[in-house]
């Protein structure tokens, strides 16, 4: 029967070429807009470290004075002071713990006549690499001992290794960063969480190629490298160079906690730490929090409002397109009342007529889906040529590809329901008489 319906559908499309083309086009535009915006939303709200994100947590506490504090309403700042970060690290209450701050590192190429340039870096502590499952191509990360001894070592990304050393094993070679020599001890495989969650509180949403230089925090600071991210001060400062003693927040601390019990334990430890520091007179405010990785991304509003608005708008547009398709399908099928009358008179059941029109709607949907895919690709192509940071990542993946057809088919079948129902309700006799 399906083949017969298909045949009928194709015949009817041929009879109303313009109307059919309009339906397909409208549906395709709606689907194209929806899939484009959803792809971007999914890209931006994605999990940067799927295999590990559930175990990664972000402690926050508040070093500000009591002035302006409202109990229960004041949120702790997103970043931490040096003393608090170091105290949490030294306590070793989590499986892994690391402090970090983003850095713009000036690299002076050894080859002559090449101008120096800035590379995105991060200064951090030894646990960074095992905690975030950072994959190494050559060598490895540094140790806690290297941190304490201010070792001049560096880990670089595969891309930087390609740029500076043509991709060969550069472990043991020297790299000149900010006028200091660092010995390369590790080269990463391609690794670029999207967004770069570990510095999201300091430098905002950050997409793209990822960090290219990793330096030990204490070594970098001993060489007076300044963090390039946000620095928030809560009291007058006299010396911005020595951030370790300044009343400013500038570090992010991440910890790995493997079980819910470990999370609860760590939260208790954090509460205890804050109360102890209040007793010591260093901290004033009791508020603290321990957010999960995805919680931090939500808190930091990594997905821009505009992207959500675009999705709503696209769905509104798709709805208009579906209503439009309902109207056109209805017009088409009511115009064929004569044909339906004949079929009904010759013994076709209501169900058969209904099925026939649903098949027709489905075909419109599939055609709309295919064309919609073209529009979505076009939309994403346009987005890739925008200056946004995430632009280069805007690609249709297999999931979205399949989802396009689900949306198209669902939209068209919903659109087809009303016309098909009206068609199958037609009584055979009056239609025969009229024609």
């Amino acid at each position: 029967m399906f083949g017969y319906y298909l045949d009928l559908a194709v015949r009817s499309f041929r009879r109303n070429r313009v109307l059919t083309a309009l339906m397909v086009l409208a549906l395709a535009l709606g689907i194209g807009a929806t899939i484009t915006t959803l792809t971007i939303l999914r890209l931006l709200s994605g999990d940067p470290l799927p295999q590990k994100s559930a175990q990664l947590f972000y402690p926050q506490l508040d070093p500000s004075p009591m002035d302006g504090y409202v109990a229960g309403q004041t949120k702790p700042p997103a970043i931490m002071t040096w003393p608090d970060a170091m105290n949490l690290l030294r306590a070793h209450r989590a499986r892994y713990q690391a402090a970090m701050a983003p850095l713009q590192a000036r690299i002076v190429p050894q080859r002559a006549n090449q101008p120096p340039y800035f590379a995105d870096g991060v200064m951090t502590t030894a646990d960074f690499f095992p905690m975030f499952d950072v994959p190494f191509q050559y060598g490895g990360g540094w140790t806690a001992g290297d941190d304490d001894s201010h070792a001049a070592v560096a880990v670089i990304s595969g891309a930087l290794n390609q740029r500076l050393f043509g991709g060969e094993n550069s472990v043991g070679k020297t790299l000149r960063i900010e006028d200091h020599d660092f010995r390369i001890i590790g080269v990463l495989k391609p690794w670029s969480p999207q967004p770069m969650f570990y510095s999201v509180a300091q430098s905002g949403r950050n997409y793209g190629d990822g960090t290219s230089i990793f330096l030990p925090l204490q070594t970098a600071r001993a060489n007076l490298m300044s963090p390039s991210g946000d620095i928030e001060c809560y009291a007058a400062i006299t010396d911005i160079q020595h951030l370790e003693t300044a009343p400013c927040e500038w570090l992010a601390v991440w910890v790995q906690l493997d079980t819910p019990a470990a999370v609860a334990d760590y939260k208790r430890f954090l509460d205890g730490y804050v109360h102890q520091q209040i007793a010591l007179g260093r901290l004033k405010r009791p508020d603290n929090s321990l957010l999960s990785l995805m919680g931090v991304l939500r808190e930091q509003q990594v997905v821009p409002d505009d992207v959500r608005l675009q999705v709503y708008l696209a769905f509104g547009f798709l709805l208009i397109c579906v209503v439009n398709t309902v109207g056109l399908l209805l017009a088409k099928c009511l115009r064929r009342s004569g044909e339906i009358g004949v079929r009904r008179a010759l013994g076709a059941t209501r169900r058969a007529v209904f099925a026939q029109f649903m098949v027709e709607a489905g075909i419109v949907g599939m055609a709309g889906g295919v064309l919609g895919l073209v529009f979505a690709e076009l939309g994403l192509w346009a987005i890739r040529h925008q200056p946004a940071q995430y632009a280069s990542l805007a690609h249709l993946d297999i999931g979205m590809f399949a989802f396009t057809f689900v949306v198209a088919l669902t939209a068209s079948l919903i659109a087809g329901l009303l016309p098909a129902w009206r068609a199958c309700l037609l009584a055979p006799a009056p239609q025969l008489k009229a024609s």
Binding site: L19, L22, A26, L29, G30, A33, S64, P65, D67, G68, Q104, R106, V108, P115, P116, Y117, F118, E178, D179, C233, Y234, A235, A236, I237, T238, D239, I240, Q241, H242, P304, D305, D306, R308, L309, Q310, L313, A314, G316, F317, L319, I320, C321, V323, N324, V326, G327, L328, L330, A331, K332, L334, R335, Q386, P387, A388, L418, R422, A434
Partner: protein, 404 residues
């Protein structure tokens, strides 16, 4: 025009009529909100900015030894001023819209500290001699800094300069001392204090969050310092590209180990508003396509019921209706349907706006958008119905006599 027959036919074609109404309602709701969002963004991009935007460029020199800034910066400036076509050059830590922002909170009471409530957060511009000419700042009251004030002002290892003079933007001055002249007044951030010696026309901040705070900025004089690693170069607009290239080459040669990068202000502005701009275009595109789809839907449905009512039209023509009568009939019908859709659409638009206000801090939809949206949809409805209505008016009276 007699409306009763229209209502009678519409009651017979309830579903297509409801569909047209629904389509217009949805289009109206989306259109009003989308156009409003476009206008917000366009407004943002056209906020006034009292500097010579078309004439200036910024060249940053990052990574030079800050200890040598005292000799490097005058040398670099002399080289820049030597380039043909440069009318002014000065050192600065940042320029408007560059996203390179240092904000600090100040208050009017001597015991104001950083964490005090009721302070004003201002973006700080640290500028060297000649910056007022290089930027094209417009002085409204008082004066700009003297050579001595530039020379005596140092940051040291702190954040705020040692000298006690500052120039505020008009907005910052008005916020700090509402209804009074700011000239000669003092503002504080313990232990520092600054006397306002001048007020300039509103200049945007390096990073603009929302429009309300777009202009809160303060100018401090500063002797050559590692902080003032950017050079503002002013010239005729058409010379900018050439000067920028020359300046980059010269400065790179003078500072071989530093990273030298130049951009015109137009470039800086475009980059700052890139997202806003593309959102506005995307909204505009959605509006146009949506209206087209709506119009095609109306054409399709009206064509259908014109075809269905050929006999009825023929009868009307046979009993004396003119072509104009038939044309008007369909146009009135569409006017009524669109009207119904618009009423529904306004309620939807308002609801959608309420949702956006609650979740996305959007302002309330101004009333003017509703009649404007209504008018747009009425016009589109009338245009869409014109074709099928003309075809209907061409139905010859003789159709009435034929069996349908």
């Amino acid at each position: 025009m007699e409306l009763r027959p229209i209502f009678a036919t519409l009651r017979k074609h309830r579903i297509p009529a409801i569909l047209i109404v629904l389509e217009i309602a949805l289009a109206c709701a989306v259109l009003c909100n989308a156009v409003f969002m476009i206008s917000l963004r366009v407004g943002q991009m056209h906020l006034p900015n009292a500097i010579d935007e078309r004439g200036i460029s910024l060249i940053t020199v990052n990574g030079a030894d800050p200890k040598l800034a005292g000799s490097d910066i005058p040398r670099d400036l002399a080289a820049l001023r030597g380039i043909a076509g440069v009318t002014a050059a000065a050192a600065s830590n940042t320029v408007p819209l560059s996203t390179n922002n240092i904000g600090w909170s100040f208050g009017t009471s001597p015991d104001t500290t950083l964490s005090t409530q009721h302070t004003l957060n201002m973006s700080m511009y640290f500028v060297g001699e000649g910056a007022d000419q290089a930027l094209g700042l417009k002085l409204l009251q008082g004066r700009f800094f003297t050579n001595d004030e530039y020379a005596d002002s140092k940051l040291g290892s702190g954040v705020l300069p040692g000298i006690h003079v500052a120039v505020l933007t008009k907005n910052a001055a008005d916020r700090m001392w509402p209804g009074q002249s700011a000239l000669g007044k003092t503002f504080y951030s313990k232990p520092n204090f600054y006397q306002v010696i001048g007020v300039v026309a509103n200049v945007m901040r390096p990073w603009v969050g929302d429009e309300e705070h777009a202009y809160n900025a303060v100018y401090f004089p500063l002797a050559p310092d590692g902080m003032t690693s950017g050079y503002i170069v002013r010239s005729a607009p058409e010379d900018r590209e050439r000067i920028l290239q020359q300046a980059e080459q010269i400065l790179q040669k003078l500072n071989p180990s530093a990273v030298v990068k130049g951009r015109t202000f137009t470039d800086i502005r475009n980059r700052f508003f890139a997202d806003t701009n593309s959102m506005a275009w995307m909204l505009a595109l959605v509006c146009v396509v949506m209206l087209a789809v709506t119009a095609f839907g109306i054409v399709g449905l009206t064509s259908f019921w014109v075809a269905q009512r050929r006999r009825q039209i023929g009868v009307r023509r046979a009993v004396g209706a003119t072509r104009g009568d038939i044309l008007r009939y369909f146009q009135t019908e569409n006017f009524l349907l669109a009207g119904l859709g618009i009423v529904l659409g306004m309620a939807l638009a308002y609801g959608f706006n309420l949702f956006l206000m609650r979740h996305y801090e959007l302002p309330r939809l101004p009333g003017i958008y509703l009649p404007a949206g209504a008018l747009a949809l009425w016009v589109i409805g009338q245009l869409a119905v014109l074709g099928p209505a003309l075809r209907a008016s061409n139905v010859p009276p003789v159709v009435a006599t034929r069996a349908a």
